[in-house]
């Protein structure tokens, strides 16, 4: 053992051997210390034994199993997205019907602060604009007297399904 420096702890020696610490004064000591050298040889032999043991263990080929798992997961996501698109469809349709039916009444309700009325008016104008645009489209596709809320609902269903399908195609 070197006189200049005490033997470092096994933890330090292992860290040094693993290349996880800078070469310090302890590193200079290790080279000339039989006790440290013996420890290092033992650790290296153990490392070799571990590697040999694990090298000997046969590993199965899991490629096809992983591929099947990925396909199954993709199908699960697809059906979830499909369900979500239907829920969104119902929600959007319901919200549009509610807005179309009740917003004008809300705006005319008395004792509303001016800001709230302005916001509601803007939302109402937007809903009306969407409704009129959809009505125009519906009138072009189905000439006559279109039943606006059901048509809006159908168009909303188509729109949301379109978005949903685009998302599904990415899966």
């Amino acid at each position: 053992m070197s006189d200049e420096y005490k033997c470092p702890s096994p933890e330090y020696l292992l860290t040094w051997l693993d290349g996880e610490t800078e070469d310090g004064p302890a590193a200079a000591h290790i080279g000339g210390c039989p006790a440290c050298q013996e420890f290092i040889i033992t650790v290296r032999q153990e490392n070799e034994l571990l590697r040999a043991m694990l090298d000997d263990i046969p590993a199965p080929d899991l490629t096809s199993r992983v591929t099947a798992g990925i396909e199954e997961a993709a199908r699960g996501i697809a059906s979830l997205l499909n369900m979500m698109s239907y829920l969104m469809t119902a929600g959007v349709g319901f919200a549009l019907v509610l807005a179309y039916s009740f917003l004008p009444g809300l705006i005319n309700f008395e004792f509303r602060p001016v800001g709230v009325v302005k916001v509601l008016s803007a939302v109402d104008r937007l809903v009306m604009f969407i409704a009129e645009t959809l009505e125009l489209i519906a009138a072009t596709i189905f000439p006559g007297d279109p039943l606006i809320p059901p048509i809006i609902l159908i168009l909303a269903v188509l729109l949301v399904n379109l978005i949903g399908k685009r998302r599904l195609s990415d899966v």
Binding site: S9, P10, E11, L14, T15, D18, E20, T42, V43, E46, N47, L49, L50, R51, A52, M53, L54, D56, I57, P58, A59, P60, D61, L62, T63, R65, V66, T67, G69, I70, A73
Partner: protein
């Protein structure tokens, strides 16, 4: 297999739409993940389940494996988490008993093995059962897969300083067991 392609090149290809490239990553790392899972779980069927699940999860999370991420250590982290889930289920059911070296390691002596070498390997396998699953995985990650302390800390959610001390303690315990004491 294209050995000249780096992992991050393959990951980029997959993210750009060449999804079949993932098979290359599976072929490249299934053995590494399986051997770690087997050491942690000590049961072949469970190790296969954990590794398959890890690859499926890795595929789903691949966009998060950005440039600069070491795919191998990232995958081993996912694989360890899958092993951890299986260990938790075992703890809940309480049905697991270690099958011993014949079921878990299940290797015959190779043509180059001497009897002593084979017995040493069996002794090491049995000794590994006496340290915790987390410590076992850290030992395999470091001394078989060559991961850095930083990667091990990230994989096992340990503080960086803990890696050195736990590895040293595990090694000391294994050494004690191999020398004949139980060193509990």
């Amino acid at each position: 297999m294209r050995p000249d392609c780096t992992d991050s090149e393959i990951v980029t290809e997959i993210l750009n739409g060449r999804k079949e490239g993932f098979t290359e990553l599976v072929e490249r790392y299934q053995q590494a993940a399986y051997k770690m899972a087997l050491v942690v779980l000590r049961h072949r069927a469970d190790a296969e389940d954990a590794v398959s699940e890890a690859f499926v999860k890795a595929y789903a999370a691949l966009p998060r494996c950005r440039d600069g991420t070491n795919f191998k250590s990232w995958l081993l982290k996912i694989a360890y988490n899958c092993c951890h889930d299986i260990l938790r289920k075992r703890a809940m059911t309480g049905k697991y008993t270690d099958p011993g070296p014949t079921e878990a390691a299940a290797h015959e002596p190779g043509p180059l093995d001497t009897v002593i070498e084979f017995e040493d390997k069996q002794a090491l396998w049995s000794a590994l059962a006496q340290i915790g699953p987390e410590d076992r995985s850290a030992v395999v990650m470091k001394y078989y897969h060559g991961l850095s302390y930083r990667d091990i800390a990230a994989a096992l959610n340990w503080p960086l300083g803990t890696v050195a001390s736990r590895l040293a303690r595990s090694r000391e315990k294994l050494r004690g067991i191999l020398k004949g004491g139980d060193n509990q």
